[in-house]
Symmetry: C2
Subunit: 167 residues, 2 copies
């Protein structure tokens, strides 16, 4: 399994880039999973639905099983930035995992998004940075791709990401 | 880990009974997880949110990691009635797992809900039935509890559920 983070400040285009990369990887025979780091929590469940009632009643977690798909909502005590453990536990069958966020994780291979008019993210851990994606005239010590070059970026990542891409 | 199904026809009070049982088990030192069998699928994700976009783009699954909680939405190829595998994989730290549904699963320990005015569920696999919960005058070869007797039912289940309650 290969793991790579798509890192950059808010509004830099992380979600769009990931939605462009997913079909490129799939076209190359990879199965893809995404891990999104939500520093401020997330709202997924709907009040009044059974799964919300169970959590309100004190359940550690709720799983919904349906033909062809499943969902798990649960409390967690671990570090929400432990992407590798999450990837292996929940997506062991995926051949590449894209992490939305993860800018500060040392040892995680990364693509940095730099967008014209936005300050670059000072919190990005540069060690492990493999490429930059930008619409600006960026000088970097790694290859720079335009936001629309998802196909070329997918080829580059396949060639340059080691298996088990967190050391 | 103990596993027990709360089985019965639609509108028989499965969700209500589970929300009553959760705090009773917690008060007795158990951590509780719930698995809900959704024969016709579920609607949990919200169109326009990132997790929906990733699945639409072809991702096998999406995980959301936040401080203290997480969610996983994924395609699955297994049998959605394989509750034990789901319980062990996703809720290995829970001491009791309540399954909403699961009426037809042989070898799964069950509580059957029978409600006045509703036909009993003909599809219930009686082998493994430990108790009946009913507001009607039911004759059964297992103990019968009233819907409000969640505390007594929790005590009974703790005493009578084996560990790893699927043989």
């Amino acid at each position: 399994m290969k793991i790579v983070a798509i890192a950059g400040p808010s509004q830099s285009g992380k979600t769009l880039l990931i939605t462009r990369l997913i079909p490129e990887f799939r076209a190359r025979g990879y199965s893809v999973a995404v891990i999104k780091h939500c520093g401020h929590g997330f709202l997924l469940d709907v009040e009044g639905k059974d799964s919300w009632k169970y959590r309100q009643a004190g359940a550690e977690g709720v799983a919904l099983l349906a033909p062809g798909e499943m969902a798990v909502l649960r409390k967690s005590s671990g570090d929400p930035r432990d992407f590798r453990e999450t990837a292996e536990r929940y997506f062991g069958d995926a051949s590449i995992v894209l992490v939305e966020g993860g800018k500060g994780i040392r040892g995680l291979k990364k693509v940095e998004l730099v967008r014209r008019g936005l300050d670059p993210d000072g919190g990005i851990e540069r060690e492990g940075r493999l490429a930059v994606v930008s619409d600006a005239d960026v000088v970097a010590d790694v290859p720079v791709f335009l936001p629309g070059q998802a196909a070329a970026l997918a080829d580059f990542l396949i060639a340059n990401l080691p298996d088990g891409s967190i050391e």
